[in-house]
């Protein structure tokens, strides 16, 4: 049995999900030979540390660590202090400077800890640098959850499609935009009405700019460009148009001619823009689904679809990444 001591940095929607998935799948993980112990959880209030492994039940009802933390250190300091094998970095995304996640990930990798993250910011700002730090220190950096949530895209390409040349990837990488456009088309809602509905349902943030202006999708395009295509793309290199100007009339007109309008991100062309998607195309998924088509030289075009966000869904991608670190042969632990 391989003991895996995990430090969880960030205790929000995804952080809670990670604890829950580790709890629910504890037996299954043991049957894979992994004894996963979350030895520390940190948020802005401090760190809860228990070297024998934190009982997820204990944190189940807690929204934050306020009044629960037993160490008054957070962030980089907590990563340094706690003896762990792997850091799960799930703090808020900032794609301008990447912090606080960038500092956390650098610290973890350079102290010889594997990192699994759902935080796009550090990867958008410094993917090649972080990959270099991981290599220098003989550890792995995994980030499946940053791109398509639960949709297996990066592992599909790196594992199952290995040997193929990847010619291009295009897809819907933002469930909020997809939901808004789907409702506008089906219900003939205006953009602002559909947005309000999405906000009421918790699908869109109070400040929706990050999603509807295509910023989130562009961040994912940058991550794919750098990780899959070996580019050195920056956020500024992406040409981005969001969905605010789409009208129900335009959606209707497109529909009559056999098309949906979807916000499509593309690599390596580095574009994010609304595009006409034929109704019969595999990319024509609705609701909050994400989808990606991967064009390869040997296997033709392969399309995957799945939920792009959600607490448990994102956590499941994180846990899969953790498992793959310990079951891949490149690393002996």
């Amino acid at each position: 049995m391989k003991e895996v001591r995990i430090s969880l940095v960030g205790f929000g929607v995804v952080g809670h999900g990670v604890l829950e998935v580790v709890r629910r799948k504890w037996e299954a993980l043991r049957s894979l030979g992994l004894d996963m112990k979350v030895v520390s959880v940190s948020d802005i209030n401090g760190t809860l540390f228990d070297e024998t492994g934190i009982d997820p039940q204990r944190l189940h009802a807690a929204k934050t660590l306020e009044g629960i933390a037993n160490l008054d250190i957070i962030g980089k300091e907590a990563i340094q202090e706690v003896d762990s094998d792997l850091v799960v970095e799930v703090t808020p995304t900032n794609i301008v400077h990447g912090q606080p996640g960038l500092g956390h990930i650098e610290e973890a990798l350079s102290s010889g800890k594997h990192v699994v993250t759902s935080n796009k910011g550090p990867l958008v700002v410094a993917f090649n640098h972080l990959r270099g730090v991981a290599q220098e220190n003989g550890v792995m950096l995994k980030y499946e959850a940053t791109v398509g949530g639960t949709m297996p895209l990066i592992s599909l390409i790196e594992k199952n499609l290995v040997g193929n040349e990847i010619l291009g990837i295009r897809g819907i990488f933002n469930g909020t935009c997809n939901y808004i456009l789907t409702r506008m088309m089906e219900e003939k809602y205006t953009y602002s009405y559909a947005l309000t509905e999405a906000q009421d349902l918790g699908i869109a943030e109070a400040d929706p700019a990050y999603d509807v202006d295509g910023i989130d999708t562009a961040g994912k395009v940058v991550i794919l460009a750098n990780s899959i295509f070996g580019m050195s793309a920056r956020y500024e290199d992406v040409s981005v148009t969001g969905i605010r100007d789409i009208t129900p009339e335009a959606l209707n007109l497109a529909w009559e001619r056999g098309y949906h309008i979807k916000l499509i991100g593309e690599v390596p062309s580095l574009t994010v823009k609304p595009m006409l998607v034929p109704r019969r195309s595999p990319l024509a998924v609705g609701g909050t689904l994400n989808v990606a088509s991967i064009e390869t030289d040997l296997s033709g075009t392969i399309t995957v679809t799945g939920l792009g966000a959600g607490s448990i869904e994102t956590a499941s991608a994180i846990v899969s990444d953790i498992v793959s670190i310990y079951t891949s042969r490149q690393v002996d632990g």
Partner: protein, 168 residues
Amino acid sequence: MRLSMDLELQDIPGQLMQSLEPFKKYKGNIISVVHHRDRKTPRGTVPVQIVFEIDPSNIENIKRHLEENGIVVVRAGEDRFIEEISVLLIGHVLHSDLGDTINRIDSTGFAEVEDLSLRMPGIEEPSSAYLRIRATGKEEIGKSLSILRHVGAEKDLLVIEPIEAEKI
């Protein structure tokens, strides 16, 4: 001179090769053959579009030869537009001189706007236009799209292109 011909073939092996014979015989230079197997006519025939270069005096001979072999010639002539693409525009489509927008494509000589529909929800509100553009080839489709992108930027119109337009 570059010409094109729309034919209808029986869906039996050998028909396509047979239909190309007179082009060889009358020294036509075939540029492209588009075989629409997926768009069978109600008569069960398969539409085929052939673009070729030839001395126009030979076109009647080719037609006759084809018809003698039971191949239906639906149309023959100068229509060179073999590629098409759909584009949607959103914004003040009409008030930014739609006639001019269309003319920028039509005046190229290699492409034209073939189909147009408009939706105008209200005076001050953005309208939408669907355009189908036909052009002499894929490259010309690409050029037409870049003209439209340019016009879009100039007139503050959102230009929505189809995903097939660009190779990924």
